[in-house]
Symmetry: C2
Subunit: 394 residues, 2 copies
């Protein structure tokens, strides 16, 4: 497997474009094939998700996608669902396809009616500009950004020649429970819909479902995976799963490190758990904890907050067996070994403070109880998170 350029357009059969104008954005992706989708578990589910879920459920296939940013079309009642259907129809008409093969996605402010006029008037020029190259993927990836600072795009080529590419947006309201804010992934593999869905579920559980920016689960989380089949290759499923895991985990890390206001990526790895679910609970509790996040922002060696988070995570914990290590990838410092505090002196704590100041901070917790492990990603909690979210709509 190797990383390649081109984002989603590195995948054969994918064309894309998008525009951004102030807070509003509009993107279109055209790619025909078997498709799988995962959606937010928020009970207030946004209108475009209702429509897209219905379409995928019916045929298991997609031909194109229309996405807008700046307005989530969430909590907008029947009008919202009508607007989402209208978006699908407009794109379907322009491409001469069945609207039931069109996915619709939205991201932005909740509880405001969609500006359909803006979408209607800008859609033709997006469609006219559709491109099957680098530039096309970039334009679509930019069109879906809201408070994201960085564009999120990735592509890989597996050893068999199959390609997988994806774009995503993240930033805030991030504790995905199914998909994340928005991610559109494509592959040119030939792969049956049921298998595609299974692979997507596996990969999402290891990637986006292990990312926390602030612990708020969005109304608009959506991950879509379409297989165009245009490589002509039927992959070994292990190879494909590995590739998809890699793509979504890398995007998940991009989302965490570009979380609103973030200055550092936090990776929490929990090993030695009794059950997989325990490892996941503990890892997510660490990256969710505002106290861990602010300590890392402040380079404050207050490692006891990690212990507290693991303790309340719901995972089975025996404090006599727990070990804790911090690392920045180069330096590694063990603070607790099987319940024994190794170091409280100033030298060790100042080294820990230094590690916390690096751009990626790894926290490794060994529960010492079993064989299960899990990794979660998050970011620090900073003044800028507060600033961005105190000023978002106004």
């Amino acid at each position: 497997m190797k990383a390649i350029d081109g984002g989603i357009c590195a995948v054969k059969g994918v064309k894309a474009w998008g525009i951004k104008s102030g807070k509003m954005g509009l993107g279109v992706i055209v790619a025909e094939g078997n498709a799988a989708g995962m959606f937010t578990m928020n009970k207030v589910i946004a209108a475009p998700l209702i429509v897209t879920r219905e379409h995928i459920k019916k045929h298991g296939k997609l031909s194109a996608l229309i996405v807008n940013s700046g307005n989530a079309n969430a909590f907008t009642g029947e009008q919202g669902v009508e607007d989402a259907r209208k978006m699908a129809c407009m794109l379907a008409d322009a491409l001469s396809i069945n609207p039931e093969y069109v996915a619709v996605a939205s991201t932005g402010v909740i509880g405001r009616p969609l500006n359909m006029e803006w979408i209607t008037s800008n859609l033709p020029k997006v469609i006219d500009s559709l491109k099957a190259d680098n530039e096309g993927s970039h334009a679509a990836a930019k069109a879906i950004m809201t408070t994201d600072k960085k564009m999120k795009e990735i592509a890989v080529e597996l050893d068999s020649g199959i390609r997988i590419g994806a774009i995503a947006k993240g930033a805030g309201m991030i504790e995905p429970k199914m998909g994340t804010m928005l991610c559109f992934a494509y592959t040119d593999a030939i792969i049956a819909q049921e298998l595609l869905h299974e692979c997507l579920t596996n990969a999402v559980n290891k990637s986006f479902n292990m990312v926390v920016v602030d612990g708020d689960t969005s109304t608009n989380d959506m991950v879509l995976l379409t297989a165009t089949g245009e490589s002509g290759i039927q992959p070994l499923i292990e190879e494909f799963q590995q590739g998809l895991d890699y793509v979504l985990i890398e995007l998940g890390k991009m989302i965490a490190s570009d979380g609103e206001g973030a200055t550092r990526l936090i990776e929490a790895k929990v090993t030695g758990a009794l059950y997989d679910e325990d490892a996941r609970l503990a890892a997510k509790a660490i990256v969710r904890s505002p106290l861990v996040k602010t300590a890392i922002f402040g380079k404050d060696p207050n490692w006891g907050r990690v212990i507290a988070a693991v303790g309340y995570s719901g995972a089975e914990v025996d404090q006599q067996k727990l070990s804790l290590t911090f690392s920045d990838g180069k330096n590694m410092i063990q603070l607790v070994n099987k319940g024994k505090i190794l170091a409280t002196d100033d030298h060790v704590l100042s080294l820990l403070g230094k590690i916390m100041g690096e751009s990626k901070v790894d926290i490794i917790v060994d529960l010492g109880l079993g064989q299960s492990s899990a990794t979660a990603w998050g970011c620090d909690l900073t003044y800028d998170y507060v600033r961005i979210n105190a000023e978002y709509t106004t």
Copy 2:
């Protein structure tokens, strides 16, 4: 029922004192009687809680309490438990009582050995200063403060003449699941231990367990209630419960409004839920949401974030039946009525921004599904929360 002065020392049979020196504090409360306690559900439970829980379980009675601030004596292994036992013994010796009737509590940084020398050398002067008046309660309330800005103290006299008084500390690592950081409550009612425990459980579930500052559950949460019986009155249980509810709810509100960095108290009331648990989940999700908290800090009328929080809370929600109102106690503004957005125009949103700028912001959500309701309290998320927690130990 009426509010009275004197804090815990308003209750007959209670003497207290405390000292604070830099980040270290030491307090003692002497009060003999039936006692009930509730403790954190964090699986990393601090040493003093292990000792206190054991003592209360054994006899259902307490004679005195020793509490230190600045160090949580949490995740300190066997040495921590020995230190906590030693604290109980030192106080018991000085008062010539059985150490098993002594409660021990701690609050502060996790994972550092207790400075027993400081405690040992300062305990005699605290004991010598014990007072049964205003000043005694104040001194104890001050001794347990960490990042608290305000002392938390309350007392009421019920119509029957019975008194209930309590002190507490809060500020950060606040999402109690049993008790809260620390609360010591006293009454002079004559009341059996089992009944006392039942009343305490009821009151804590309505008060501290509905408070969120940051969603971190402490290793040291502890609520103790001692009944000295010195009023000579056996209360009607409804009256006593009502009084105790009031005392703990008021303290819970004090903790929320004095949350680390807080500038506003947020009260989220959820009505029309199918089940009590649904109402509790939804109310707590609102006050826990970093996005709701930052919006209120920024007076940003982004009310859709409340809807998103209710949606992911786990409560049963039907977006067609949901109503949402904001109030500052004087002005009230309904934003959603049974799923219909009432107002998106600038006038209404600027009025909402104004309400969000008041010192207490009420959020009322009617789920429109059933008869259950619950109220939760929290605070806004501000630059100061980040500052305080980026700098806590260093």
